[in-house]
Amino acid sequence: MKIIACIKQVPDSEAKIKAENGQINTGDAPLVINPFDEYAVEGALQQREAVSGSTVTALCIGPESAKEALKHALAMGADDAILVSDPALNDLDTVGAARVLAAAIQKVGGVDMVVFGRQTLDNGSGLTSAQTARALGWSLLGLAGQIKVDTLSESKGEERSVSVERVIEEGRQSVKANLPAVISVVQSIGEPRYPSFMGIRKASKAEIPVWSLSDLGIAAPDAIITRSELMNPPARDTSVEIISGESAAEIADKLADKLIAEKVL
């Protein structure tokens, strides 16, 4: 199976992020692989292990510096990596990203499975996996907590199918589709493996190809959604009132009275 894991580079989740003069200030926070996408890489690697002869390619849209996120995926065990980078891609929205990713996936060719994380830490809209599936005309198996590729049908010359357990609000839903398919994964897929020493060495030496829009043969998609204003969240009334007392019962009694009076129940 030819598997692609789509990743993005984002500021570390520990970052203190502020709006300053209409710009996003991430302080000195390092840029890292989007934490949700580590699960995508993990899910892709699990499938490589499940189906012999499979490969995993990490794919990312971003500036030259996003190669570091791809190197993380390589260090985790991905076989190779591709960066799509073009100055015309600075203002992508999710549909635009999906069209660019779909073009890159077509250019790779013969891809059976594309794995995404549930969402990114920055924009957080969680739309790109579904939109990439639609742009490709492939099925989407979203929010998978478990992936199982049917390995039997191949010998019978049938199309290979994949089943996932979707983690939805109401519980789990099992869904099946033929490959090729786009899958987004949630944390239940399993903790992302740590980069191995050998993996880190391999990644540090890797030559990552960079594809421009002209390599993909497409024009820059217009951004449909544009930002007009950036705001810090309203400051919270931070004065904490510590409830104390002689016993747990007394403290609980006081606290319960306060909360009932606040009408938050």
């Binding site: 830490l121 739309l127 939109q131 109401e170 589709a177 204003e229 009132e241 747990a248 129940l265």
Partner: protein, 337 residues
């Protein structure tokens, strides 16, 4: 302006934010509700009672199970022929997927997790959180229809007018499917974190009850999880006394104490309850990002320097294993439960 509101439901049970979306839409003008599924008359009728002027129903056995591709195609066909300016959705796992796909069909895009929507003539400006609530942005879509998913509990729920009727029109379901739904295991999730007015959450601290003696034969990790389960029982009792949901910090989920679906915070769910009670949660920045929209935070923690106290309105520095059950008892008495 022509406004549609998609009513999301699971097996006929409408998702509460659908009604909040109807209420918002009605403040802009006449509103048509969209209901997809199989035998969904009751959902359509409820949409009228919650304020929809009329309802378009795609009712087909092939739409019984949600599948992103069939729902997207059905929506795209309706939007192409009836040309709404605005389609509102509640933000759910389903709407994110099929609205996303439909946006590709319609050459538009989706604005997710809206916390405010301003309409000035033809222009619609949406406020939404980014960086998981560390910042907010105002955005605008340049294409029609504008597709907007609303964050739960960000908009008031309208009153229901029992017996209010209106026109229910059948529309064509698009049933070309790429996926097959093989079954469900529906969890007894109780109150969902997204809809909860009250959330009681546990952190790493719930596994630290020194007075508990785990059963013999458990290794250290099993004993820790056993202790944590006892701790989460106390958290759960307080939550159910208050009619609320149970949440957890990432530390508790990573520790194997409770499923991921309960996780609140930057890599879990972003929640907006009226009251958030954090038990044994220190308050890592990722967790705080997830509870920024909570109206009031109460912190119970042994460590007076825990960062959670910086966002709390009320705090108790003490042993959660004593305070939480005492609080459950106090509320039972005072709320007459």
């Amino acid at each position: 302006m022509k406004i549609f509101v998609y009513i999301d439901h699971f097996k006929g049970e409408a998702q509460a934010t659908s009604w909040e979306a109807l209420g918002l839409a009605k403040s802009f003008g006449a509103t048509t509700a969209l209901v997809f599924g199989s035998s969904v008359d009751d959902v359509a009728k409820a949409a009228l009672e919650y304020g929809a002027d009329d309802v378009l129903v795609a009712d087909d056995p092939a739409l019984l199970d949600f599948r992103a591709e069939t729902y997207a195609s059905t929506l795209s066909a309706i939007a192409s022929s009836r040309t709404p300016d605005l389609i509102l959705f509640p933000t759910t796992t389903r709407t994110r997927e099929f609205a996303a796909m439909s946006a590709v069909d319609l050459n538009t895009n989706v604005i997710t997790d809206a916390t405010a929507v301003e309409v000035n003539g033809d222009s619609i400006v949406v406020t939404r959180p980014i960086y998981e609530g560390k910042l907010f942005e105002k955005v605008t879509a340049s294409a029609k229809p504008q597709l907007i998913t609303l964050r739960g509990r960000a908009f008031p729920k309208p009153e229901k007018t029992a017996g209010k009727t209106g026109t229910i029109t059948k529309v064509e379901a698009k049933t070309d499917a790429l996926t097959t739904v093989e079954g469900y295991s529906v969890a007894d999730v109780g109150v969902s974190l997204n809809d909860a007015g009250v959330i009681v959450s546990g952190g790493r601290g719930v596994s630290n009850n020194p007075s508990l003696q785990p059963p013999a034969g458990l290794d250290d990790k099993q004993a820790e999880i056993w202790r944590a389960h006892q701790g989460f029982k106390l958290v759960g009792e307080l939550a159910s006394t208050l009619g609320g949901a149970v949440g957890a910090s990432r530390a508790a989920v990573d520790g194997g104490y409770i499923p991921y679906s309960n996780q609140v915070g930057q890599t879990g769910k972003v929640v907006a309850p009226d009251l958030y009670i954090a038990c044994g949660i220190s308050g890592a920045i990722q967790h705080l990002a997830g509870i920024r929209s909570a109206k009031m935070v109460v912190a119970i923690n042994k460590d007076p320097d825990a960062p959670i106290f910086k966002v709390a309105r009320y705090g108790v520095v003490g042993d959660l294993f004593q305070i939480v059950p005492a609080l459950t008892e106090a509320f039972k008495k005072k709320l007459g439960k």
